[in-house]
């Protein structure tokens, strides 16, 4: 049997399983029949197995050069190395949706299995909703975006995947992690719908909603940072973020998911913002689907966009459906979602969280508006416009800085109402900010935007570290515990808080890195003959020769540059251009010398082997690598928050006074 047929059969099984599971979950659970839940769990497992089989079929076709499968004929090539043949699975539209289907089915099956013994009524509805999303994707893979069409006559070879994707190993990591983040938001969406359909708004649904959002959020954060890293390491323009529609597409659900995670804390503590929290979970999913639409409909102009395709209208119908269903369900249940708590004072942790949420949502709207504005202008006024970096930077930077400020102030303020004492406790942090400013000014770093960012970063880092170490110190002093025990106990007793603070440290690191690398970048460009030198920051660059060669399926031209640092140490950098067969455009591959204080970044702009001249674009980016080195903070922080613990019975208690909380919460 041909791979095409096997693949199509698997997808059909997946489609039927998802549809069956979804329908039975809703119909039987509505009738009060517990078999609805059992059927949904089994259907979810079958859905996963079928998707896995379909993906394995495609990978084996890619690896084994089965050009009778249309997708392999489109992206496969005998010249592509093994790892990139596997990666080709997500290098073009149809394959990426197939891979999406696999991750989705994995999440649905994992959720269904994890809660298979849970009796709450919202669970079968949640699984049913997720399977309904599965129906949509299985339908896409079976019909409008099928990769399994049989090609006849079978071509002897194919063009290979997009050269940009073959150029760097990060491409192997970036899409799966980002997809795990994106697709992961299906689970909170399912849980939110499940809660809305069942009308069950006890504390029980909030915990899975929060946990599964955290999983997706962790992946999404890492995926976005790795994407920025990839752009920096591959695209050769020295940047890492360009407010490209597809970058925005991943940033939008991240913003609402971040807002959601903070909102759940307020919901839990103060019993406020229930409807708001649910809306954020629903919006996050809608934005992931909108993001997928942006990449795959051919409507947006972007470095990521796949070729024009016919799946746009199908996606649009799905987006409309999500928005309408979410709005109607919220409308039906809004009387059950009334807040019982209130914000008592503007100077309190509640207010800081609330303001944080408003800012995140305002930032979401700002970015969304900037992204779709060209489409709105064209639809309404018939003119073509493009919204560039200046708009986004102008709008996002002040909001980002305010968020950084709140990240410091929020944890320092008590719930309810701030006391004079809690405000006085902020003095050491304010002094840190002042010291940072004095230090920066003394060393000549006087750019106002960067100065404000560094100061607030110092302020927020001081408070975050204090909040992390205060309970440890208290335990060591009062319970005479050794450091490690006190640390372990403090983390165990306040997992989510500690995890959150670790993530905050990562975010502070990113803020500092962005401010430094944007404000103090040095750029130079020069055409050099062999033996010529140029200067970038403290480095002297001497161009030696042009090196050419063949490497697997690509030819390369590189400039051998000897770099001498101020300390006298020398090393060699080889910025290069790769030429892939069947690609008319050369793919630049910058060379980066990465140090903790900054990166020397060389990009080969032009070369003339006959004259032995090269034109080099050189940059020095201070602290830029801190952006990627913040990933461990996100991973560790998320893991600490999510680490399974035995459930403790907790009676809802009024918020404790601030000092007690700092020591034991």
């Amino acid at each position: 049997m041909s791979a095409s047929l096997v693949g199509q059969a698997c997808i059909l099984v997946a489609l039927v399983a998802a549809a069956f599971g979804s329908v039975t979950a809703f119909v039987l659970t509505r009738r009060g029949d517990p078999r609805g839940h059992a059927f949904a769990v089994r259907a979810a497992v079958v859905f996963f197995c079928a998707m896995l089989a379909a993906n394995l079929t495609m990978v084996s076709a890619l690896v084994g050069f089965d050009f009778s499968v249309q997708y392999v004929a489109q992206v496969g090539s005998r010249a592509t190395p093994l790892v990139f043949r596997i990666v080709s699975l997500w290098s073009a539209l149809e394959g990426s949706i197939l891979f999406w289907g696999l991750i989705l089915s994995g999440y649905v099956a994992a959720f269904a299995w994890r809660y298979r013994k849970e009796e709450a009524r919202f669970i079968p509805y949640a699984v049913g909703s997720m399977l309904a999303v599965g129906v949509f994707f299985a339908f896409l893979i079976a019909g409008p975006a099928t990769p399994f069409t049989e090609v006849s006559p079978v071509p002897p070879d194919g063009p290979g995947p997009n050269p940009l994707l073959q150029n760097h190993i990060l491409m192997v990591v970036h899409p799966p992690i980002l997809y795990l983040g994106y697709v992961g938001m299906t689970v909170p969406f399912g849980v939110a719908l499940g809660a809305l359909v069942s009308g069950e708004f006890s504390e029980r649904w909030m915990a899975p909603l929060r946990r599964w959002t955290m999983i997706g959020w962790g992946f999404l954060s890492c995926g976005i940072i790795i994407g920025a890293w990839w752009a920096y390491a591959v695209l050769g323009w020295g940047g890492y973020w360009a407010w490209d529609p597809v970058e925005n597409a991943s940033f939008l659900p991240w913003l609402t998911a971040t807002a959601f995670i903070h909102a759940t804390i307020v919901e839990e503590r103060r019993h406020m913002l229930k409807a708001w929290t649910l809306s954020l979970a629903l919006a996050t999913f809608a934005l992931t689907i909108l993001g997928t639409f942006m990449t795959r409909s051919g409507v947006f102009n972007s470095v990521h966009s796949f070729t024009q395709s016919d799946i746009g209208p199908t996606f649009l119908v799905f987006i409309v459906l999500i928005v309408v269903v979410s709005a109607v369900l919220l409308a039906l249940r809004s009387h059950l979602l009334v807040s019982t708590g209130r914000i008592q004072s503007a100077v309190s942790r509640d207010a800081a969280f609330f303001l944080n949420n408003l800012l995140f949502v305002a930032l979401t709207f700002t970015v969304l508006l900037g992204t779709v504005y060209p489409l709105i202008a064209e639809a309404v006024r018939g003119v073509k416009v493009s919204v560039g970096e200046p708009y986004f930077n102008k709008m996002a930077v002040p909001m980002g800085i305010t968020i950084l400020f709140l990240m410091g102030v929020g944890p320092a303020l008590p719930w309810g109402q701030a006391t004079k004492q809690s405000l006085r406790q902020m003095w050491p942090s304010v002094s840190t900010a002042i010291v940072v400013v004095i230090f920066c000014v003394a060393y000549g770093y006087r750019e106002p935007g960067a100065l404000v960012t560094f100061a607030l970063a110092g302020f927020a880092a001081n408070i975050t570290l204090r909040e992390m170490f205060l309970p440890i110190r208290v335990r060591m002093r009062e319970k005479k515990e050794p450091l490690l025990t006190a640390l372990g106990e403090s983390v165990r007793r306040a997992q989510r808080r500690m995890g959150g603070y670790v993530v905050h440290l990562g975010v502070i690191t990113i803020f500092v890195a962005i401010a430094a690398s944007q404000s103090y970048v040095t750029h130079a460009q020069a055409t050099l003959k062999a033996g010529d030198t140029m200067q970038t920051q403290q480095y002297t660059l001497a161009f030696k020769e042009i090196v050419q060669g063949q490497e697997g399926n690509r030819r390369f031209v590189a400039a051998k540059v000897q770099v001498t640092s101020a300390s006298g140490s020398t090393f060699e950098l080889l910025p290069r251009v790769n030429y892939y067969p069947r690609s008319t455009d050369p793919i630049g591959s910058p060379a980066v010398h990465d140090t903790a204080l900054g990166d020397l970044y060389l990009s080969l702009l032009a070369h003339d082997p006959a004259a032995q001249t090269v034109t080099l674009n050189t940059w020095f980016f201070p602290l830029v690598s801190w952006i990627w080195w913040s990933i461990p903070f996100f991973v560790i922080g998320t893991l600490i928050s999510l680490w399974p613990v035995r459930a403790r019975v907790q009676a809802p208690a009024p918020p404790p006074p601030r000092d007690a909380e700092g020591a034991s919460a």
């Binding site: 102009n301 796949f306 409308a331 039906l332 489409l375 493009s386 008319t584 455009d585 001249t613």
Partner: protein, 179 residues
């Protein structure tokens, strides 16, 4: 059952607006480079000549006949592939249409070496500081502007031209049919 109609209406309006705006975009080419100068007068320039004629050339010097303005560089592979096509077009249509090459973001030595090896058959100019490229909204090379005899940009082609596309655009330019 209580229902919050304002929420329903907000959702419906939002969905309709999204569908309308996003739906309008179908059929677009995602890789199309936005270009605002179509139908507008071609921006004036004064650039150094690199061909046999010495001194500077202005846009006004080329008035009277349709003009094909081709931006290129020696470092750009596709430009080198395109070069013979433009020369072929000049051979075929050179009596009715003017051809002008503009070298963009390049070093003088590289350009001189290139032109020594293949001397230009048509006017060749040097956009040393990239001023003309900015005025023309150049997004990359090669890009070719088709300018009518009354000095308006009729069409911009992004990427290397092939003979059939070049012929098609020159014919349209000569007929001055509305784009």
């Amino acid at each position: 059952m209580k229902i919050n109609w304002s929420l329903v209406i907000t959702g419906l309006v939002l969905a309709a607006a999204l569908a309308w705006v996003l739906g309008k975009g179908f059929g677009r080419d995602p890789h199309e480079v936005p270009f605002m100068l179509t139908g507008k007068p071609a921006p004036a320039f004064t650039l150094e000549r690199l061909d046999g004629a010495k001194g500077e050339a202005k846009l006004a010097d080329f008035a009277g006949k349709p003009l094909i303005l081709n931006f290129w560089s020696t470092w750009c592979g596709p430009c080198k592939i395109e070069h013979p096509v433009i020369e072929w077009g000049f051979g075929k249509f050179g009596d009715r249409v003017q051809f002008v090459g503009v070298v963009y973001q390049d070093s003088r030595e590289n350009v001189d070496a290139f032109l020594r090896e293949s001397p230009p058959k048509y006017a060749m100019l040097f956009d040393e500081n990239g001023r003309a490229a900015v005025d023309y909204g150049l997004a990359g090379v090669p890009e070719t502007y088709f300018i009518t005899k009354d000095g308006k940009i009729r069409y911009k082609h992004v990427g290397p031209l092939d003979p059939s596309r070049l012929t098609q655009e020159i014919r349209a330019l000569l007929e001055d049919a509305p784009k």
